[in-house]
């Protein structure tokens, strides 16, 4: 009997039909969209949900006592419950809507940070963080006199766990770490990190921007204290994201911004703040975005995050094999636990020249430092080219990427 190659059944052609952008032609070639770590494309269901809100449900929430406002409020709060289920939070009140992961981290830095972090305290991050998980802590350090400590990574792009354990001291007041690295694709052992930090009573924030689109996130299982994610990286709208925070922390934290919705009562002498999560949602929120995010979660859940992970793993393995066969190509980020990302350099050829030639073949990749300049420095490269995969990508698209890279070599031979 012929030995069958093990492949996962995944109806990718059917899935692709849900995404209008994937039918585009670029420079006369079919679009091969491989920049999913920057942002994902949107399925029609999400586009329709946003459009339906504006054309049939639009009203402000939590104020009107009329039909339309009740409808909008319901839709908004239903979406909150969808997020709760998606990441398995204990309570919907632990879901705070923010603009994105960046704002989620800034919220913790300013609210938690200014309440609980003092001069001489330490905040622990890793060498693979995105700028959005570095700069908010530097700002906080500047405000409070706290110090930023950085856990090194090895040549594969994996966290050096022993160094992490050594860097946890009595001074450490918060650990903030990426679940999946945007520049390297490394999946960090978040559960072990949380265990080690909690053993010293140190809370942990997880930057989940690159994880939520690719793996099943369970904040109770991870046992993390905060988890931030972005809607637009998981087939949802831009400008909307989530900060999960454990109830006991959120309740003890001061507000992040002041304004409408986040108060119970206001006089010029004294203001009483609203309950969580509203305490952290000042002003009219991005209602359409929240509803769109809810539709994105429905869409992903319908396919199933486990199925997505399995299929993407297969793509990643295939892509790794194909790229390793290209002369002079060096993968940056070869962690044993990886998701979605193929970052590479090609001989002496600059990433932007690669990007330009690929673009003329319809292939969209990212070229540059990926908002992770310290990672580039760690690997001694000014920039990398990065192909990042989503569940709507195909092996054929990876083949087109490889053919285009051969063309790059041809030009620069």
């Amino acid at each position: 009997m012929r030995k069958k190659e093990k492949t996962i059944s995944f109806a990718v052609e059917k899935v692709r039909k849900d995404f209008p952008v994937l039918g585009l032609k670029v420079h006369g070639k079919p679009l091969v969209y491989l920049d999913n770590a920057a942002t994902t494309q949107k399925p029609q269901a999400v586009i329709d949900a946003v459009s339906r809100y504006y054309s049939a449900e639009n009203a402000n929430i939590h104020r009107g006592i009329y039909y339309l406002s009740e409808q909008a409020t319901d839709a908004y709060e239903v979406a909150r419950s969808k997020v709760r289920n998606f990441i398995n939070a204990t309570f919907p009140q632990e879901i705070v809507f923010v603009r994105g992961t960046t704002e989620g981290i800034n919220l913790v830095a300013q609210s938690f940070g200014r309440a609980f972090i003092k001069e001489g305290d330490e905040i622990l991050i890793s060498a693979m963080e995105h700028h959005s998980n570095i700069v908010p802590w530097q700002i906080l350090a500047g405000q409070t006199g706290a110090k930023l400590r950085v856990v090194p990574i090895n040549d594969r792009g994996e966290l050096e766990f022993e160094e992490f354990e050594k860097l946890i001291t009595r001074k450490t007041k918060l650990v903030s770490i990426a679940h999946v690295s945007n520049a390297l694709g490394t999946v960090n052992p978040v559960k072990r990190i949380v265990e080690a930090a909690h053993a010293q009573n140190i809370p942990v924030l997880v930057d989940g921007a690159q994880a939520a689109p690719h793996l099943k996130v369970d904040v109770q299982d991870l046992d993390c204290d905060f988890y931030a994610l972005s809607g637009h990286k998981m087939v949802g709208p831009t400008g909307i994201g989530v900060l999960y925070g454990r109830r006991d922390w959120l309740e003890r934290m001061p507000p992040y911004q002041g304004g409408g919705d986040m108060i119970s009562s206001v006089t010029f002498e004294k203001t009483t703040f609203n309950k969580i999560p509203y305490k952290f949602e000042a002003g009219t929120p991005h209602i359409a975005g929240v509803i769109g995010l809810g539709a994105a979660i429905d869409y992903l859940t319908q396919i199933g995050m486990e199925k997505i992970r399995d299929y993407e793993n297969e793509l990643l393995q295939y892509g790794t094999k194909v790229l390793e066969g290209i002369p002079g190509l060096r993968l940056i980020g070869t962690a044993r636990q990886k998701a979605s990302v193929l970052s590479f350099v090609l001989g002496e050829i600059h990433a932007h020249d690669i990007g330009t030639i690929l673009d003329r073949n319809g292939v969209a990749i990212r070229a540059g430092h990926h908002c992770a300049m310290p990672v580039m420095e760690r690997f001694g490269v000014p920039a990398t080219a990065r192909a990042s995969l989503a569940f709507y990508n195909t092996k054929e698209e990876i083949d087109i990427l490889a053919r285009s890279l051969h063309q790059v070599l041809e030009v620069f031979k």
């Binding site: 420079h27 600059h350 932007h352 020249d353 330009t356 003329r360 540059g368 000014p382 030009v411």
Partner: protein, 160 residues
């Protein structure tokens, strides 16, 4: 391969990017400036030796994409021996060739070998790579201490 790609990465450009001319630190330099496009990672330092009004010698160091490297190399070869004003004028024509307003012309004869970079105009996102050395040269001649960038969206305020 598409013809505009072939135009962009033609022999002369690839040659200048692989074997850049005047790629050296100039000990006699009395002007110096840095150009840096952080998003790209293009980084270069231009060294200029002025003698009166004349650019007596020029050199550069740095790393970057083929376009920025070739453009810097070609620029140094072209401005050597020219006065500051002549170099400025050349930049004007060069800029017009790459990103100029429709209908306005540029002097092909004056640009000479620099016209090999005209293909960059079909790649708007790469214009900044080709103009970085020129902005850096200008900063050097004007004695600016700040590194120059051509990738910021708001370097200049334009009305209307």
């Amino acid at each position: 391969m598409s013809s505009d790609l072939r135009e962009l990465y033609q022999e002369v450009i690839l040659d200048h990017s692989k074997n850049p001319r005047n790629f050296r630190v100039l000990k006699e330099a009395n002007h110096k400036a840095e150009g840096y496009n952080p998003l790209c990672g293009d980084r270069l330092t231009v060294y200029i030796q002025m003698e009166g009004e004349v650019i007596k010698d020029i050199g550069f160091q740095g790393s970057g994409c083929a376009i920025s490297k070739a453009s810097t190399s070609l620029m140094t070869a072209q401005v050597k021996g020219k006065t500051q004003r002549e170099a400025e004028e050349l930049f004007g024509h060069f800029h017009q060739m790459l990103a100029g307003e429709k209908g306005k012309t540029f002097d092909k004869a004056k640009l000479g070998k620099l016209t090999v970079l005209s293909g960059v105009s079909d790649f708007p996102v790469r214009v900044k790579c080709a103009t970085l050395p020129w902005h850096t040269l200008r900063a050097g001649l004007e004695g600016s201490a700040q590194p120059v960038s051509t990738e910021s969206f708001s370097t200049e305020w334009t009305a209307g």
